[in-house]
Amino acid sequence: MNEVKVGVFLSDCGNQLSKILDFNALTNYVKDVSDVVLVKRNSEFWRGEGLRIIVDAVKGGKINRVVVAESLPKLSEVSIVQAVEEAGLNPYLVEVIDLKDHCAWPHRETPKEATEKAKAMLLAATERAKLLEPIEKLEFPALKSVLVIGGGIAGMQAAVDLADLGFEVDLVEKEPFLGGLAARAGRFFPTDDCAICIQSPASDVKTITHTSRKCVYRSGFTEIPNLNILANSKVVGVEGVPGNYKVTIEKKPRYVNELKCVRCDLCTPVCPVEVPDEYNAKLKTRKAIYMITPNVHPPVYVIDESVCKFRDCAKCVEVCPTDAIELDQKIERVTLNVGSIIVATGFQEFDSSVIKEYHYGDYPDVITNLELARMIDGFGPTGGTIIKPSDRKPAKKIVMVQCVGSRDRRWNPYCSSICCMISLKHASLIKTAYPDTDVTVCYIDIRTTGREHEYYYERAREMGVKFVKGRPSEISRDPETGRLIVDVEDELLKRFLELDADLVVLAPAMVPAEGTKELAEILGLELEEDGFFKEYNAKLRPTETKLRGMYLCGGATFPKDAPTTSLHAHSAAMKAAKFLITGKIVKDQRTAVVNEEYCGDCEFCPVTCPYGAISLEPTSEDHIVARISDLLCEGCGICVGTCPLNAIELRHSRPNQMLAQMKALMSINGTSKPLILTICCSECGHAAVDSSGMAMMQYPANVRVMKVPCTGILQVHQFLEAFKVGAQGVMVVGCKSDGCHYEVGSQQAEKKVALARMLLKEYGIEPERLEMFNMVYIEGDKFAEAAQTMTERLKKLGKLQLMEGS
């Protein structure tokens, strides 16, 4: 190992800081610290001449550790580290601290104390720097191929995007045909045009304008290069790591050879089996060999194996001119190797029959929005007329019931968010086609929040759609007339209405698509309480998941309308592309590592790792040890905080580095106030400290800040250690417990703080000397206040004097 030579660079921010901090004292202090070979002061060090000073010192081999005190380190560190790396030194041998926002600004009223604190900060940074080790960059291969699960509007959009960008795309759809819910919905708001209109694929003639926008059926979707469609298929297994997944697909037999079928339609007339057509709300029938509509992808017939008589009939086989029908097809298993996976499994209508008072399923004339959509569709089973399914006569009086199973704590507490618009769209379409139809909408609240959405409400009123504010209590059928009666209170009139109806249309809640739970288990993804897939961060990373390499879009995360679904799909495609585009995953090795000699096989760490990065592996000596995947490890250190043998260390945040820092921070007080060690996570916690300083909030200089990647790395012993090395109090500052950047780190720290407090009490140390705070970046005031409160509290408690022998 080379001799450690530390260079310390002090920025006085254009003499701003020297008005508060005594820079001569600091320089003199630092240069006497062991192994410090160079101390420089400048007005700034992160660019221009200042940066050149650092670079020259590194290049000249004068120093091999760099400590910089510079303002706005979150920005300045980037350029310093880059320059140092270019100068030939490993970038992880640089330590940047912020004397401005962490010392000078918040303590500007006590310059002497601030200077003493600055010394401690410089010492801590130097001590840490001395112990730093180079961190290598790792590269992992990433396949430039993507699996998209779900062939609805979301999946198709994402698939096209990625195929256009040159990725190999496999699109898996569990149904025999693509299109999903969107295809059944007919027309969409806000444009009232048909549902699946996508941007034309690359294979089509491109124009500079958007005239190439095409309905999916005319788009040549199945012919897009790089796009492989696996209909009638589902994912049954996933192995591997981001960038390199091995996916097993189970392909149900179609019984029609996709390459031979010419869609001549000779087969359907001869098929003797006729069953209600689910796709068309059972309003018409179809044959055992069928296509849902004439224009579908893939354009190949399918045999419904649950009703086909196969060899006992085989009439279709006889007439097929291309011998496309293969009754002997079996389930096939296909293995795909993909770099990432996009989940686009969507949603479905809630089963309204469980709300017994509405009698869906009992009364044929109580239908759902999706069933109504089939009637409205000119290609649908009724050719666009609205009928009563009971007698197939036109429905002249229609009552729509909103929030069926939505906003209902018995079933789905959430608002499904699109049903108001669907009903308004339907009401207007019906009124347009059949102005004499009486349409009444019963609602709790009408929610039309999107652009042009309110216009739908307005138009519906103009067209004479009636609105009743009130949720119907019951739909009953007059035993004599057979007509439906909807009991509802018009709250605004305070009048009880018994609405007479030919047809009642329910607006059911939208719930996760069937099989969502199973798929989540296969993929290792989490679901929210509502059953939809959980996104990584609902606010800023809505299409990502906790697992790099897996993305979500469309209704898989929550019910969405078409515009939002499209946006979502493009976002997921972009994220997947960004992840795979270089064909490799590059990350630095700031990861946790197990010292296998000491690993005691307690099997705790794999459970606590939020990223599934730890596996248990047998070693030759009949022992089992934990191993950490450098690819999956996110560097939070939660496993470090768990290991009862300290057999796991996080590179770049090793225990000796942390202890050295802690000791240094507690070695100089310079105030009459009790020293407080503040351990902040590098995310919200540290940011809150930054923001309090930036806002020039004041707190006492006895509060010393140490940064860790995540509070989850902390162990109980560190708290005890802090008191041992002279802290009078310890503050732990982490993210909000549900906003931890490493999922559960903050919660883990909270539990450890609680246990440490329990131990402290036993040690005769007031437990309130240790406290955990949860903050976000903008809560700088909260940090300043906490620091102040803690100081006051410790002053009241008096000096903690460990006894002789401690």
Binding site: T608, P644, F723, L755, S806
Partner: protein, 353 residues
């Protein structure tokens, strides 16, 4: 390596043969101690000392059974207060480094023990902290939850069985009619041997696991001792040796041993019972879990750990489902620091006077 031990559930199950072997060993040992062995010329010089401890470690030396014969064949025991009559002054008279290996058990509770620790350090080439008391303070170290006054108050006045009308308590000097007598000073704080003098090797356990003693003795004879400062126990933890299955690593409730219906197969922690195994050095072959008792941690912390109680609490907190579970832990020091309080980071309770 994994040690395989014959475990007897209760002492009365110990076969007679073994009892006899013990008897035989004791007799042979006495003989050797009395006469020495004329056959061996260059024998190593061993010393044993008993400071603040229960005496179990002395017995453990004998628990190596017939192997003790090898020991006495190859070594002379030059000092062993419990067995042979050699005075402190005899030790003082020995040249420095006269003793080859000194096995020192017990913690440092008073002035005499500190004196002997320093003396034996000076006279020994190799000093082994033998047993949990010497290594980590053990149960004796739990005295660090109090100070001298409270301990005396309790021991000499408060216990129901004590009758002390003259209020006698130990003093460093007392005048009797024959003259002034001196007693060693009783300290406020129990220290481990390592905190008192420089220790070469640590052989923890309460008492140290027999196979580890044997291995240590063998290493001494074969001159194959590891680097100075090492423990002579394995580097892994009890879990590594424990045959119980680890299934559901989640602690959703803390239970006492009598509250569970132990299936004899599942890890105690998975059944909600606190077991110190994960934070305790291996070596004993998971003796306790093997006989359906959770580990209480006598082999001390793992090699990289400075504080056994903090280590286990960190681990348990990590798998605890919520904060409520943590509140269920009773007697935290007695549970998590039964053997290691004196060797923990803070070492003792702060007592405000």
């Amino acid at each position: 390596m994994r040690f395989r031990l014959i475990i007897y559930k209760q002492t009365n199950q110990i076969p007679n043969e073994i009892k006899q072997i013990r008897l035989y060993v004791m007799r042979a040992l006495n003989e050797f101690l009395a006469n020495g062995d004329p056959m061996v010329e260059e024998k190593l010089k061993f010393a044993f000392y008993w400071a603040a401890s229960c005496g179990g470690c002395e017995i453990a030396v004998l628990d190596i059974n017939e192997k003790i014969l090898d020991v006495v064949a190859k070594a002379d025991i030059v000092f062993w207060p419990v067995a042979i009559d050699i005075k402190y002054k005899d030790v003082e008279a020995m040249p420095d480094k006269y003793i080859d290996v000194c096995f020192f058990n017990g913690a440092i509770r008073n002035e005499e023990q500190e004196h002997m620790a320093k003396l034996l350090r000076k006279k020994s080439k190799v000093l082994v902290a033998f047993g949990s008391c010497a290594c980590d303070g053990c149960v004796v170290g739990l005295g660090n939850l109090w100070d001298k006054e409270t301990i005396f108050e309790r021991a000499y006045f408060e216990t129901p069985s004590t009758k002390n009308p003259e209020s006698v308590t130990p003093k460093t000097s007392v005048r009797v009619k024959e003259g002034e007598l001196e007693l060693p000073e009783f300290y406020d704080t129990v220290k481990t041997l390592g905190q008192t003098v420089d220790v070469d090797y640590f052989l923890s356990g309460c008492p140290p696991p027999i196979p580890c003693i044997l291995q240590a003795v063998e290493a001494i004879f074969n001159n194959k001792l590891p680097p100075k400062g090492s423990s002579l126990l394995p580097n892994k933890s009890i879990c590594d040796e424990c045959p119980r299955e680890k299934k559901d690593r989640k602690l959703s409730e803390i239970k006492r041993i009598y509250e569970i219906d132990d299936d004899l197969k599942t890890c105690f922690l998975d059944q909600g019972v606190i077991c110190m195994g994960p934070a305790t050095r291996a070596g004993c072959g998971a003796q306790c879990p093997n006989v359906n008792v959770p580990c209480t941690g006598c082999d001390g912390p793992g090699p990289l750990v400075t504080d056994q109680g903090a280590a286990i609490t960190s681990a348990l907190a990590s798998i605890a489902t919520d904060l409520k579970v943590i509140e269920q832990a009773v007697d935290p020091i007695g549970t998590f620091y039964k053997y290691s309080l004196a060797n923990s980071i803070l070492r003792r309770r702060v007592i405000k006077k």
